[in-house]
């Protein structure tokens, strides 16, 4: 399958945004519960960004602010964007489920949101993209056309 240039700095900014938002919601909700609204908002941001990249808040922050001002340097890599988009969408779905759980079973909702943040951190720090691996496995199983 054809590759194209994917700016990995945009992906890193996205992951940083996810980790930061979830942590702010998690820690902040201990003293100010309404901060939990950040979880469903993040789910919306991720899902919107998956289907309409121009609405991907953190990536747009990178492309419109951080990159032009030289705050974050671009790192273009020959890559396929599909696994990364899939991973982002998966994160969005999990956060959407977490948002529902926050109403019914807050502990599970928060735990699920934390797990999304942990996976985003693993990707950010170690370059290990679990969502991309799931994409690969689904491709291997023939569920999606990944090869």
């Amino acid at each position: 399958m054809a590759t194209q240039l994917v700016d990995h700095s945009a992906l890193k900014v996205n992951q940083t945004g996810i980790v930061t938002t979830v942590l702010v919601a998690f820690v902040g909700s201990a003293v100010y519960r309404p901060l939990l609204v950040l979880i469903p908002l993040l789910a919306i941001v991720l899902l919107l960004g998956t289907f309409a990249p121009q609405l991907a808040l953190f990536k747009q922050l990178y492309f419109k602010v951080l990159k032009p001002r030289g705050i974050v340097k671009p790192r273009p890599v020959q890559d396929r964007p599909e696994p990364h988009n899939f991973a982002q969408g998966l994160g969005g779905v999990f956060l959407a489920v977490a948002s529902v759980l926050l109403i019914t079973v807050p502990v599970l909702g928060l735990a699920l949101a934390l797990l999304v943040a942990v996976l985003a951190f693993v990707n950010l720090a170690f370059g290990y993209c679990v969502g991309c691996q799931i994409y690969f496995q689904l491709g291997k199983a023939g569920v999606i056309k990944a090869s």
Binding site: M1, V6, D79, P106, G109, L110, G127, C132, S147
Partner: protein, 134 residues
């Protein structure tokens, strides 16, 4: 605050369970691949499982493999070569397998393996040491 602590505990348990599963998978893969041979060689060599969608393969694993110098590296498309990938229970990419000269798998590394780690495993393979590492 107790909600946060419980959530942290639940998330921690899930992460711990995932780590245990990873250890179990690695051990099972070693058992399954014991005695499996690819192509015999005169020196220990590496099977490198990769795929089109694997970014870490290109950005991390391949530069690490390039640092190894004169080592035979058999690059395998894990999706095209499913039988071989299944033999080593490849469930993530990249996966590297260090094999002895007679084709016995000595180390299976799931995920990115650094150059020093691979060098150490190759040195053990050359020295006839068999260490179970994944």
């Amino acid at each position: 605050m107790s909600t946060q602590l419980w959530a942290l505990a639940v998330a921690g348990i899930v992460v711990l369970a995932a780590a245990c599963l990873e250890v179990f998978r690695a051990r099972r893969a070693r058992r399954r691949s014991a005695g499996a041979t690819a192509a015999p060689a005169s020196e220990p060599y590496i099977l490198y499982f990769t795929g089109d969608g694997c970014t870490v393969c290109r950005t991390h694993q391949e530069p690490a493999l390039a640092k190894l110098g004169q080592v035979r590296i058999d690059k395998v498309d894990a999706i095209a070569e499913r039988t071989l990938a299944d033999r080593f229970h490849v469930y993530t990419l990249p996966t590297t397998v260090v094999l002895s000269a007679d084709g016995h798998p000595l180390h299976v590394n799931y995920g990115y393996a650094t150059a020093p780690k691979l060098e150490r495993q190759l040195a053990e393979a050359r020295g006839g040491l068999k260490v179970a590492t994944a």
